[in-house]
Symmetry: C2
Subunit: 442 residues, 2 copies
């Protein structure tokens, strides 16, 4: 998939007359810039500039760099309404010194600047809050301030927070089994898992996310959720919910952390049954409206209208930053307690580090996963939401810092961009703690 | 189509156990209420509650009453961004007397109240501004204040205003031929038409909008613009722009008014070539952002990403009212002149009434069509944007009144709802002029 995309990118690139010296290396951020390629430009766009969901071109590289900011144009979506209330203001504070901040990427010996890191990891947008003030905001690729970008699996952390909130409210019981909320999942591997196990992804289910393996369950999941009419000879599940009913057991529940998207979709079904609202409505009512978001967000849906809880959220960069600030402020937005502080405190405590270690994330030593958040357990108590291709929300309570980032790195796994992002975030935290951007106490 | 939808609705209704006494009459507003039918409710919705774009059920009655407020969930769309600027405030002024206002529907002898008219014509939402204050705002059916509703052909009036604006700016010349802007249309009937003829729909083109005729060009237009993958045996045009190139001449340009959607799509192509922006971008930049809209709007697109200029706009009710107020204020929003006053003055002057009369709208005697607006030429100088199934924006400068209305009347043609809406608007205008809702001079 990845290499096919790169190869196709090269061919198209060459046909446009661009000389590329190293065929095995993906196009750089500059060379893959969607504006430079002119995707979907022209009236009508000529065939070689068109991007389509149906033919799969939308997720090949470099087309994907356009698609991540245009999902609504590729498929049906539902609104996550901001409501009609006031926008929560985001004050700005200029910090020119930030550009020259340096850090050493993991596995390298030469320092890189903050500004250089944007190109190195194919950043589409980054917003940094320090003490609630916007000290950096940049857009690249196909993203603008008024546009929305795919959050990919950052979606899961929104869902996890909603799940934790429903537990706090007594609408869900962490220790009850999934089958008690969704009887249809009784015969699947999910039925006997607890809500807490869903939230920490310690269920024993068979669900491979190895995109290189055509038999991986993630492909059946994608086919089920594909909103286009199914081919005449299609015999598999026809919606996210039908897919979940087919998931088989593998290993014991509660034994180890395994990062599997299907857990979040199952949580979405449970939450919908517990509240009578789908996850887009829940997200709007419980978070997006009280957050004072400046834009509607949206979610992709399957053909039966079910939002993709595991990864279908699209939102603006500033609103992602606002959401991070809500987390940093222990659930408060201004003077209003939107999420109980106890929910955020529990989330930040994290999960079982030994169980996390079994998943083999060699770059994330000592981390854990809890309520669908990634907890660093570092000295600053930082925690993250993470999505493929470089989507991130990084909250460092000690440095009073929130970083919202969207990206379109050619490699899906975040291991490919962590080396130029996580050490940059840590360097920025230190810089801020040392007064690098002089700000009043907030 | 219409009767098939009604019949299907009856069958589904009966299968749900609802007794219906008169089989030939469509369901009433109450009996067709989407909430009562529970469309797309349930997790997942059961088969009989699902609505699909692919199988055409989305536009059968009564399913259509849900669909008009959920187009983005049915097909791909593009954002009409409100930008990140401030929202133009809409002050409210309660006017309880309005509920009891009566009028006599055309063709009837008994009076009807303003409140009763909402049900009679399947209103989904209505907002009335008097001197810029919101004196009435109601939602029915599937619409809410934070949702968007299909504008249908009200879209055309947005496009016409953009066209008139581009002429004023010198980016378009009213007297130049379409072929000069879009050479690809040279061999079609549009090529030799002028921009002014497009705007007044006096082109001589063959384009039947008779939905009952399977050979009507409107079906080929719809097939071309359908964003789903084309069937393997499909041989027709594959986008709105390809369709426009196939339109044949019929009659002379400039001889008579013929209401034909393809004119607006051709205008969309012309405007895109003249500005380098598609019509959604143009609408955002020239109108939506300076308007201070409180929500993004959106447009449906074909599979090549071209917005449907002839009818693809979806927007919130309050924003439609704001747009009407911009027209009433001769192009001003607050202190800012967003559209030159001369553009609005020309629009309100109207078109050729004799040419309009040839189109045979028996209920709209004396009206004309100009810049894709409907001009009443009544004593109040009222003018309108109109879309099938009851979409309307009615501006009465004399009564300092703007009425924004969305609907989902079972009959597409507005002749079916004009009898209970146009006399109501006129009665309301008189009521306001007589001080029915005491308001300060504005």
């Amino acid at each position: 998939m990845r290499y096919a995309g790169i190869k196709r990118g090269l061919l198209v690139g060459l046909s446009l007359g661009w000389a590329l010296s190293v065929a095995a290396v993906p196009l750089s951020a500059e060379d893959s810039d969607p504006a430079r390629w002119g995707w979907m430009q022209g009236s009508p766009p000529p065939p070689e500039k068109r991007i389509s969901f149906a033919d799969g071109s939308y997720f090949q590289f470099p087309q994907m760099r356009w698609s991540v900011a245009h999902f609504r144009q590729l498929m049906p979506t539902v609104q996550v309404a901001r409501g009609t209330g006031p926008i929560q203001p985001l004050a700005s504070h200029s910090c020119a010194a930030l550009d020259a901040l340096t850090f050493v990427p993991w596995g390298q010996s030469e320092p890189m600047t903050w500004a250089e890191s944007m190109r190195a990891n194919y950043t589409d947008g980054i917003a940094v809050l320090h003490r609630g003030r916007l000290i950096d905001e940049r857009y690249f690729g196909a993203l603008t301030a008024e546009g929305q970008h795919a959050a990919m699996s950052v979606t899961k952390s929104f869902m996890g927070l909603l799940g934790a909130l429903l537990i706090e409210e007594g609408l869900l019981d962490a220790e009850r089994q999934v089958v008690e909320y969704v009887p249809e999942l009784g015969a699947s591997a999910f039925g006997s898992a607890t809500i807490a196990q869903l939230l920490d992804m310690t269920t024993g289910i068979r669900f491979s996310e190895d995109y290189a393996d055509p038999n991986a369950e993630v492909w059946a999941h994608a086919a089920a959720g594909n909103p286009l009419p199914k081919p005449a000879d299609y015999v598999g599940p026809r919606s996210y919910f039908e897919f979940l009913q087919t998931v088989q057991p593998e290993g014991e529940h509660g034994a180890a952390f395994h990062y599997r998207t299907a857990n979040t979709d199952a949580l979405g079904w449970v939450m919908t049954r517990a509240t009578g609202q789908n996850v887009a409505q829940l997200l709007s009512e419980r978070i997006w409206q009280p957050l004072g978001a400046e834009q509607d967000a949206y979610m992709t849906v399957d053909s039966w209208g079910t939002p993709f809880a595991g990864g279908g959220l699209n939102l603006s960069l500033r609103d992602l930053a606002r959401f991070g600030e809500l987390l940093r402020q222990n659930g408060r937005v201004g003077e209003q307690q939107v999420i109980p502080a106890a929910v955020i405190a529990d989330l930040r405590t994290g999960g079982d580090q030994a169980q996390f270690a079994q998943a083999g994330y060699s770059q994330l030593e000592g981390w854990s996963y809890h309520q669908m958040w990634w907890i660093t357990h570092n000295a600053h108590g930082a925690f993250m939401a993470r999505g493929v291709h470089g989507q991130a929300l990084y909250i460092d309570p000690t440095a009073e810092m929130v970083i919202a980032r969207f990206g379109s790195h050619p490699v899906a796994a975040n291991a490919a961009n962590d080396a130029t992002s996580l050490p940059a975030y840590q360097a920025l935290a230190t810089f801020l703690l040392e007064g690098g951007c002089a700000l009043p106490e907030g």
